[in-house]
């Protein structure tokens, strides 16, 4: 098994991406507060991955969201959309002021992502479907000879859906090397620990058996995330999956690894203040 190779990434780049991740996290907590409900825990665990993708990796044009040559990103664990919306707003797809209307009637920023949001490639929220849609995109890009790559994030709990394994088997069969998937391995799901509810281990071995190139990293180590993406892009003849070990609720002390912060109750006023203070402090420390 390969581990994420940090690579020679400039401190300035890493600092910028960590700052973007902190911004995503602050916006996540504020959004769930403003929206009155939502999923904090899994949005916070995936923030570093999204920061790396949206602020370094993905070839996108916010002025032309449907540019045919673009890379695609699918958040298969669609309930973590606050993090996706924050990343898209930060990347310039829409006005960050719109984030205050998360989950409000009439807002495009619904409880789960939809294509009416500029930059969102496909509807997700029904677990297991996003990875299949991403697979379809990768197949389509390959058939068209497009240089675009497809990235997806699946939740670890989501991997209990049988459809995920259909998609994994198909991607390995098709040798889709334009397809890179992350597993947000935060080890918690709605009702508790993944290992108690339906054990996924040995996850990396299963993924290798399904013919994927597998890396395991610390999903909050920005250099490791970049190194894993760069290593994945060099792989030929295989789809690549990066098992990112993460902490659900990462960055907010009272949310970290606490199942109840899966969703959907919002933080109270004092909880919001504490979270924003901690996340601001996190950024200052980077």
């Amino acid at each position: 098994m390969s581990t994420g190779n940090a690579g020679p990434y400039p401190g300035e780049l890493l600092g910028e991406l960590r700052s973007r991740a902190a911004e995503i996290r602050r916006r996540v907590v504020q959004m769930v507060y403003d929206g009155g409900s939502g999923h904090c825990g899994g949005s916070l665990s995936v923030a570093d991955i999204l920061a790396a993708l949206y602020f370094r990796e993905l070839r996108l044009d916010p002025d032309r969201p449907h540019w045919p040559e673009r890379d695609r990103f699918v958040l298969s664990k669609g309930h973590a959309c606050p993090a996706l919306y924050a990343a898209l707003a930060g990347r310039g797809f829409f006005d960050p002021a719109d984030l205050t209307r998360f989950r409000h009637l009439g807002s495009p920023l619904k409880g789960h992502p939809e294509r009416c949001v500029p930059g969102v490639e496909t509807v997700t929220g029904s677990l297991g479907q996003g990875i299949s849609a991403a697979l379809g995109m990768a197949l389509g890009l390959r058939r068209k000879g497009s240089p675009g790559r497809v990235y997806a994030v699946v939740g670890d709990g989501e991997m209990q859906e049988g459809q995920v394994w259909e998609a994994l088997m198909a991607a390995g069969h098709f040798r889709l090397d334009n397809f890179t998937c992350f597993v947000d391995r935060n080890r918690l799901q709605g009702d508790g620990r993944t290992e108690e509810i339906l054990d996924l281990e040995p996850l990396a071995e299963k993924l290798r058996a399904f013919r994927w190139h597998v890396q395991e990293i610390d999903g909050h180590d920005m250099a490791a995330i970049l190194g894993a993406i760069d290593a994945a892009k060099r792989v030929r003849g295989q789809p690549q999956i990066i098992v990112a070990n993460t902490v659900k609720g990462k960055g907010v002390s009272y949310m970290e690894s606490v199942p109840q912060w899966h969703g959907t109750a919002p933080p109270t006023d004092p909880e919001l203040a504490t979270a924003l203070a901690e996340l601001g402090a996190e950024e200052a420390a980077t």
């Binding site: 045919p68 699918v74 939809e114 294509r115 490639e121 496909t122 509807v123 929220g125 029904s126 297991g128 479907q129 996003g130 299949s132 849609a133 991403a134 697979l135 379809g136 995109m137 990768a138 197949l139 389509g140 058939r143 068209k144 049988g162 459809q163 259909e166 998609a167 088997m169 198909a170 069969h173």
Partner: protein, 322 residues
């Protein structure tokens, strides 16, 4: 090779799935915008001739329909139309939520074409006989539901289905069925066709029941009862004008489909007419039962889907006319 599409002659017995393969092959010569998505059943759906002739335009997903339908949603972009073909029970029913959420909700340009619908399936029995497909597809927003009546109409429908920008569910029959329409038939999505006129009652039929409706009307005509026969080849959106005219002109409607009497085409007609022009309606279909094994013709008799059953239903509805 871009030869003429060869139609069958009215009265011939032809399976709609044979027509499906024929028209896909024909269209494959002239248009490059569609791909066959298969879950290891191209032999059963009739698509195999296309798969054999255009192997590079087939995406083989194996026996994994849920992945296939959601992947079709991701694939359908620009000039790539997935034609997802399978058996209704295992494609539309198993992957129904994928069809609803990944395909229909965002309005993806995906065509799901299912063979093995109703008791027309024959000996495979209830597991393969989907008698609920019209109910579960027409209740999804954004979806167009097309049910060709015979092999020729299916070949005319497929290019229209491909040209419609949006999700479509289309039924394909399995067993040989009489050809009703000739090559000059005009098929349009959302438009019913009137095969015989009459003002005593109207039989609104869909799929392979259309031929039986024509036969029933001939029997009744000999008895002096003038029955209008309507081929409702689009279940959604309904051809409201044709249905309203039939209700106004005849005041008595019989619906006929190879589907559960609950939730199918008859249900759609009743939902519409009860609000806009209520008249007595007799709904002919499978009486809320699962299918069973047997030859298709025998099953039609067993489940009450023959021309004689339509004649009896017409007499019942005539007796209910005020």
């Amino acid at each position: 090779m871009t030869g003429q599409l060869a139609f069958w002659s009215p009265g011939e017995q032809v399976s709609l799935r044979e027509a499906f393969g024929r028209v896909l092959c024909h269209l494959g010569e002239t248009r490059s915008d569609f791909w066959l998505f298969d879950a290891d059943v191209a032999g059963g759906t009739g698509a195999k001739p296309f798969a054999d002739r255009f192997p590079g335009r087939v995406v083989q997903f194996g026996i994994a329909e849920q992945n296939m339908v959601a992947a079709a949603a991701g694939f359908a972009e620009g000039n790539c139309i997935p034609v997802v073909a399978g058996f209704a029970s295992f494609l539309m029913m198993r992957a129904h939520e994928q069809f609803r959420t990944a395909v229909a909700y965002p309005g993806r340009n995906v065509k799901v074409c299912c063979s093995h619908v109703g008791v027309d399936v024959g000996p495979d029995g209830a597991t393969a006989q989907m008698v609920e497909d019209l109910a579960v597809t027409r209740s999804i927003p954004n979806v167009t539901v097309v049910v060709p009546a015979d092999a020729n109409e299916l070949m005319l429908a497929v290019p229209e289905v491909l040209d419609l920008d949006g999700p479509v569910y289309m039924r394909i029959g399995r067993s040989p069925a009489p050809v009703v329409f000739d090559r000059d038939h005009r098929f349009r999505i959302g438009r019913a066709t009137v095969l015989a006129d009459g003002r005593d009652a109207a039989i609104v039929a869909t799929g392979t029941l259309v031929a039986r409706a024509v036969s029933a009307a001939e029997t009744l005509r000999r008895e002096g009862v003038a029955v209008r026969v309507i081929n409702l080849s689009t279940i959604k959106p309904l051809d409201r004008d044709t249905l309203l005219a039939a209700a106004r002109d005849t005041g008595a409607i019989v619906t006929a489909e190879d589907h559960n009497r609950h939730g199918g085409m008859g249900g759609a007609v009743c939902e519409f007419l009860s609000q806009h022009h209520p008249v007595p309606v007799e709904v002919v279909g499978i009486d809320d039962r699962f299918g069973t094994s047997g030859e298709a013709e025998d099953l039609c008799r067993h489940f009450g889907l023959t021309a004689a059953d339509l004649v009896a239903a017409t007499r019942r509805v005539l007796a209910r006319k005020p």
